[in-house]
C-alpha cells in the first residue's frame, strides 16, 4: 500500500494543481479537507473523477466522499478494496 500512497500523493498534487505544495510534505494521515491540504468542493468532485478514471471506481453518492477522502491513507485503503483497474 506504500506505493499506492506515494502514487496518490503525486496524482493529487498534479490533478488538483497544488503547485505550492511539496509531495514530501504531505503526511498520509493529514486531513485532505478543512485544515491540512484545505481542499474544496470542486476538488472533492475531481477526486471522484480520478477514482473513476485511474482505478475504475464509480462513486454514485458524493456524500460517500466524506469518509473516503478523509486522508490519503483512507483513500488508499478504499482504492485497494474497490479498484477494478
Amino acid at each position: 500500500m506504500e506505493n499506492l500512497i506515494e502514487e496518490l500523493k503525486h496524482k493529487i498534487v498534479e490533478v488538483l494543481n497544488l503547485e505550492d505544495i511539496n509531495v514530501e510534505d504531505i503526511d498520509a494521515k493529514d486531513p485532505l479537507f478543512g485544515d491540512g491540504l484545505g481542499l474544496d468542493s470542486i476538488d472533492a468532485l475531481e477526486l471522484i473523477v480520478l477514482l473513476d478514471k485511474d482505478y475504475g471506481i464509480k462513486i454514485s453518492d458524493p456524500k460517500q466522499g466524506k469518509t473516503i477522502f478523509q486522508s490519503i491513507e483512507t483513500m488508499a485503503q478504499y482504492v485497494t478494496d474497490n479498484r477494478t483497474k
Partner: protein, 372 residues
C-alpha cells in the same frame, strides 16, 4: 434619467412556441421536462427539450436557410413577431447566452464565437447598431435587461430588444453531471427531497422602451442590482450575501420596501445549496411571506435564457393577476421557510421581484411595476 418600460415579450420553449401557448401550459401545470432517451453519451435523463419536428414546422422557410444553426433558428422564431416597425438607427440589440452555438465545437470552432451568432441576428433583422452580448452565467438574462434599462435611462437609445437563448447540449449536460448536480427525476425546488437540477433549453425576447406605448404593457422597471458574492466560483454564499445586496440595491433604487412586493420569481434550481441560499437571503430581507415560485420544474434550468424567460412569465403572471404553482414543491426543505406557491393562485399583483444567481458568484435582481 428616463423611465424604462417592458412592453412585450415572447418565448419559444418545450411548453410552446409563443407566450400564450407557454402561459396555457403553465396554467394547466404541465411540465416541459421529460425523460430524454439520448443526448450524445447521455441516456435516460430528465431534461426539457424543444421538439425538432415541431420547431421545423414553425419556421418561416423564407427567413431561414439550410445552413442556419438550430440556435439561430430558435432566436429567429422568438424575435420575428416582435420586430414590427420598431427598429430605428439607435435601437439596441442585446443577446444573453452562456454557451451560444457551443455545438459548433464539434465540427467548426469558428462558428462557436458568440459574436457570430449575434451578428447573424443583427443582419437578418437589419439592426443598425453593434449587438451587445452579455455572457454572465445564469444571471445573463436579467443582467441583459438591466444593461438595456441603463442605456435607455441615459437616453442612448429609445428602445431595445433583449434576446436570450441556450440549447440543451452534451457539452453542458456532461459538465453538470461531473458536478453531480443533476437530479434523476423531475426537479423539486425548495423541497426536502430535492436532488439537483434538470437542464433545459429555450429562447426568449423582451422589448423595452423609454416611452409609453398605447398598446404596450408599460410595465416600469423600478430598480435592479447585480452583485457578486465574492465567496466561491461554483458554490453560493452561505449567507446569500450577493443576492441580499442585489435585492437591497434594487429596493433602494426603487424606493420601496419588502412589503410592497406582491410576488417573487425566484431562481430555485433545486440544488441543496442554491435553494437554501435563497431562503436565507429572502428571510434576511423580510420577504419570507411573499408568494414565491420557481419555474425550474416546468422548464428546467435554461441557463442564459432562464432570467429572461422567467422575467417574461413574471410579467405575464402580473398581467393576469394569476400566480403559478411552484411545481415540484411538496414539503419545505430549506432552513428558513418561504411562502412557496403550492397551487395556482388568483391575486392582484402590482409589483414583482425577479432574482437569479449563477456560477462565478453572480446574482441579479430586478423589480417591475404594473402601474408606473
Amino acid at each position: 434619467m428616463r423611465n424604462v418600460f417592458i412592453q412585450e415579450s415572447n418565448l419559444v420553449s418545450p411548453l410552446g412556441f409563443n407566450l400564450d401557448e407557454n402561459w396555457n401550459s403553465l396554467l394547466a401545470n404541465q411540465t416541459g421536462i421529460s425523460k430524454i432517451n439520448s443526448l450524445g453519451n447521455f441516456k435516460d435523463f430528465y431534461a426539457a427539450r424543444i421538439d425538432d419536428v415541431q420547431l421545423d414546422l414553425m419556421l418561416n422557410k423564407d427567413f431561414v436557410g439550410l445552413e442556419t444553426s438550430r440556435i439561430e433558428k430558435l432566436l429567429t422564431l422568438v424575435l420575428l413577431p416582435l420586430i414590427k416597425d420598431r427598429i430605428n438607427e439607435q435601437t439596441i440589440l442585446i443577446l444573453s447566452t452562456t454557451k451560444g452555438n457551443v455545438n459548433a465545437l464539434q465540427n467548426n470552432l469558428n462558428e462557436a464565437f458568440l459574436s457570430i451568432l449575434a451578428n447573424q441576428i443583427k443582419n437578418k433583422f437589419k439592426f443598425f447598431t453593434q449587438p451587445i452580448i452579455v455572457s454572465n452565467a445564469c444571471t445573463s438574462g436579467i443582467l441583459a435587461v438591466n444593461v438595456a434599462k441603463r442605456l435607455l435611462q441615459m437616453n442612448k437609445a429609445e428602445n431595445a430588444f433583449v434576446i436570450a437563448v441556450d440549447e440543451l447540449t452534451e457539452f453542458v449536460v456532461s459538465g453538470f453531471n461531473a458536478f453531480q448536480a443533476m437530479s434523476n427525476e423531475i426537479c423539486k425546488p425548495y423541497d426536502l427531497h430535492r436532488k439537483g437540477v434538470n437542464l433545459g433549453e429555450a429562447a426568449a425576447v423582451m422589448y423595452l422602451t423609454n416611452f409609453t406605448e398605447e398598446n404596450g404593457l408599460n410595465y416600469k422597471i423600478l430598480g435592479e442590482g447585480n452583485i457578486n458574492d465574492a465567496n466561491h466560483i461554483s458554490g453560493p454564499s452561505r449567507t446569500g450575501e450577493g443576492l441580499f445586496l442585489s435585492i437591497n440595491s434594487a429596493f433602494k433604487e426603487a424606493k420601496i420596501s419588502a412589503k410592497e412586493i406582491d410576488y417573487i420569481s425566484a431562481h430555485g434550481t433545486a440544488t441543496i445549496y442554491n435553494d437554501e441560499m435563497e431562503a436565507i437571503a429572502f428571510n434576511r430581507l423580510g420577504l419570507e411571506d411573499v408568494e414565491t415560485n420557481s419555474l425550474k420544474a416546468f422548464y428546467g434550468h435554461t441557463l442564459g435564457a432562464s432570467g429572461l424567460l422567467e422575467l417574461a412569465l413574471a410579467c405575464k403572471q402580473m398581467q393576469e393577476n394569476t400566480l403559478i404553482k411552484s411545481l415540484g414543491f411538496e414539503e419545505n426543505g430549506v432552513s428558513e421557510s418561504l411562502n412557496i406557491l403550492t397551487q395556482n393562485q388568483v391575486k392582484e399583483v402590482n409589483i414583482i421581484l425577479k432574482t437569479a444567481s449563477g456560477f462565478g458568484g453572480t446574482n441579479a435582481a430586478i423589480i417591475v411595476s404594473k402601474n408606473g
